[in-house]
Subunit: 538 residues, 2 copies
């Protein structure tokens, strides 16, 4: 046996490092994602189609909102062959300047969003270029983009991605004279399938409409069915503002990175100008905790010095990040949307105050819980309802990869039994969660699952416990009312019997007796319940 | 209300496209992953540390095996402060030529693995550069690499990543005169935590040892505990060979991509030389199905023509991909490893034949099931065992993101009840699955979850059902044996009573009577069982 092994060992000829490294090459980011298209959400016929719709709709909404325009988005899918579809997405956004069309649609890791601390749906500069890539990978055809900034000229551009160079390849470019403003994208896909269901393009758009009551979205599906999700609010959300990072949770690397880019002359002024919630007084507090002079040039700060500052950050009390930079949907809007679609027996909505996760990134959560009515989803045991968790990040529905998501984790850590939801999984409950942040820490480029940062899980959990308590109160009140009614009912029954017996004995009027007995009971119980309610709180 | 809304609407000033696009920028891949480090598995203190160990160990093993060297890998973690660790990883691999050290450790999307159809653990050219990035992000310090190809010169290099350029930044470079061959990597990490448990560096290395019986791995943990996982096999796996893509499942885009790179003069010779299992005869079959002459220059093939070929591929029968290119662990080795660590009552191992998933990528699965003994993991109901699923891809343990993984999905679709595992989740079962392929379709750059390609889920499911049936037979035999023993026991008991009564009546010898009665019963049952076994098969 040993001989055999040694023989085998000898048979394998060793190869030198030089031989092994002769194929050393660099690849472009597009080549990488072409080979790993599952990272972008292109896996499976159904998910791939939903991913395309997701990328197009998020871009359209971002564009409109950044420009301060009430969004109107029209999406259409048309089947042109087996597993072969044509898509169009048209918006009334600001349009794209001609010189940037290539960058937006034909280049990955390029865009306006990555560098800024602004709450947007897109943040990576990969999404739409990914659509171009997936479209050409499956059909060999270019995307067509019609776009105009309202100048009277419409650019009509067909482009593909040059995969090895990560650059757009312009196939055709024309100018049409027309007074119009917006962007329309057209393309084809193969190897995809349209279905209805929980993870379909329709559901994606329906949920988008729920979380974006100010947007009008029209969706025409391959069967020709047209769904118009009209806006329920004309209040256009304030365009997202740039938010400075918050000192809490700031890490040394990022601090140095910011310091290098700063034009401030002193570390102290750098801190005051580049961070949220650092006043002159706070800078003085920090100075007292570090062993170097904050008059120093921030670009010359060493790692050790920066580390002293981040340590000081942890010891100083700062105000929570300001609410202005973040744009939750708002309790009123969420409640309206939830009531409209679910018509629940009970609902409760909560928006928590902004806070910060690792790296000083401000975020905020809003949650809603709906019980009864059309809440939950069908498919539970014995034909009943199952709990439904609707996840959103910056108002974008997350339909896939629920497993590892911070939102799912938070929902699972809540002890629902304590809030009178005995079997959460099999209850007619819809839990709605929207995570709002200038940067959502997704677990992958496909952006369907949020990384389980402690602070995020904790905030969501707190919010859920809060609405859980409200449900608990509602539910126990409801249960109490049912019990009271049952008691009243029993007493009333006895009162009739009692009245009959008394009437027989006293020859009195049975009806009159019954009535006065019942009035007496009602009065007594009413006083008793009132006292109980006062005692027990509401 | 409407007035209010319109007022709000007016307050939002529209911004022009030019204004919005003034910040349009490109970012480097390293900048992207710096901001999205969770994509690479750097999320949470514990997972981050395991990710570093994972990247180092997979690289070391790949290097050794590619060079045909029996791997010896030493990993050590040392705590140097609160949440602050130093790591080293030393291998006896082929070393790295000096001019490639920068590329390997300081540049993402660069490497020797991405372009080739070779079964390796690494495949993206991101992993180790990610370690450099994470190390410098948390400590501000460079990685140190000692490497030699055995020339008598050892390169001692300290480097960091220039994040905005995605290039290495050499901090220090020295040459030591020493006769040694291999690579040793040293670095520091902050904000990480060492723990024991199911997702710890120790468990990662233990599972790596199970799936790599030819490797010797030594791990020293921060408490100074040294674990030596000695090799149980001296048979060095054949170095992975380059595998040609298989025509089945090939897509048009990839076919054209290969055609463009080919130096063949005709499409027919391109197909014969660049694909696995396309013979002259098969090429003729394809010619009969397409409407253009395969004598055409492959570099001039159009999308429509390439599509005709991929359609023809789907209609022609090809042999399955050859087994030589793929390197499963092997049934014997898996069985040995499983028996050694789990000492189960029952185990069964199966390696399926290679097949293909989308894009013509060959793959193969091997599975094992172990029941009883130390199989399963603790923490089940009432202190019992829970089912344990050990996922591997190319012998690399997958410890995270089990939720969306093809392997988990396959395990969940098996109706375990049919195989006598009544409550799978709460049974003392370990299911071991290794997916072997020249390219594993991971769902994200963190490489912990396999995309649920239909063909992959199906193959794993088939393999599990096969070992499930074997367990079923074992388990029913065991149950039958228990029943038989009980029956025998009952009969024996009666035989003693019967003998006593008969002895009283006949004044015979009770002991003798008992003995002969029992011999008779045993004989009868033995014949009966034998007949039953012959009938029912084994």
């Amino acid at each position: 046996m040993v001989d055999m092994a040694e023989k085998d060992e000898e048979e394998v000829k060793e190869r030198s490092a030089d031989e092994l490294f002769k194929d050393f090459k660099e690849v472009s980011i597009t080549e990488f994602f072409r080979k790993n298209k599952a990272h972008l959400g292109y896996s499976g016929k159904q998910r791939s189609l939903t991913t395309v719709v997701h990328e197009l709709v998020t871009n359209a909404l971002d564009a409109c909102e950044e420009a301060g325009i009430l969004p109107e988005v029209e999406v259409a899918l048309k089947q042109v062959g087996p597993e072969h579809y044509r898509f169009t997405c048209k918006d009334n956004g600001p349009g794209i300047p001609e010189e940037h069309v290539s960058g937006v649609f034909g280049q990955m890791l390029a865009g306006t969003k990555f560098h800024r601390h602004v709450q947007l749906r897109g943040q990576q500069g990969i999404g739409v270029a990914g659509v171009t890539m997936f479209s050409q990978m499956t059909t060999g055809k270019p995307m067509r983009i019609l776009t105009s900034t309202g100048s009277g000229k419409v650019n009509d551009i067909k482009l593909m991605v040059d995969v090895s160079k990560n650059k757009a390849d312009i196939i055709e470019s024309n100018i049409i004279t027309q007074k119009w403003r917006g962007t329309e994208i057209e393309g084809e896909l193969k190897g995809v399938a349209f279905t209805l269901g929980e993870r379909s393009p329709y559901e994606y758009i329906r949920r988008t409409a729920i979380a974006n009551p100010h947007a009008k979205i029209t969706f025409t599906d391959p069967e020709g069915r047209k769904s118009v999700f009209d806006r329920t609010s004309k209040i256009i959300p304030r365009p997202p503002g740039e938010m400075k990072p918050h000192p809490r949770g700031m890490d040394t690397d990022e601090l140095l990175n910011l310091a290098k880019k700063s034009s401030a002359r002193r570390v102290s002024s750098f801190l005051e100008s580049e961070f949220s919630r650092i006043s002159k007084a706070k800078a003085d507090e920090i100075q007292a905790k570090v062993n170097f002079d904050l008059k120093k040039n921030p670009r010359k700060m060493t790692w050790a010095e920066a580390e002293e500052i981040t340590k000081a950050f942890a010891e100083v009390d700062f105000m929570a990040p300001p609410v202005e930079g973040l744009r939750p949907i708002g309790e009123e809007q969420v409640d309206k949307a939830v009531l409209k679609i679910l018509k629940p027996e009970f609902s409760s909505v909560l928006t928590r105050n902004p806070t910060v996760y690792g790296g000083g990134v401000p975020f905020q959560v809003e949650v809603a819980i709906a019980y009864g009515g059309s809440a939950g989803r069908s498919g539970g045991e014995e034909g009943g309802s199952k709990a439904e968790v609707m996840r959103f990040a910056n108002r974008t529905p997350l339909l896939f990869d629920a497993g590892g998501c911070a939102i799912t984790q938070a929902v699972n850590t809540v002890e629902w039994k304590r809030y009178d939801v005995k079997d959460f999984e099999n209850s007619p409950v819809t839990v709605f969660i929207n995570l709002v942040s200038v940067y959502i820490p997704y677990t992958s480029a496909g952006k369907q699952s949020v990384s389980a940062e402690d602070e995020i899980v904790k905030e969501i959990r707190m919010a859920l416990m809060d609405v859980g308590r409200k449900f608990h109160r509602y539910h126990s009140r409801m249960r109490r009312d049912i019990e009271r009614e049952a008691r009243m009912h029993t007493l009333m029954k006895y009162s009739a019997e009692l009245a009959a017996s008394v009437a027989k004995l006293t020859k009195g009027d049975e009806k009159k007796l019954t009535k006065s007995l019942q009035t007496l009971i009602a009065k007594k119980l009413h006083i008793e319940y009132k006292a109980l309610d006062a005692e027990g709180g509401k």
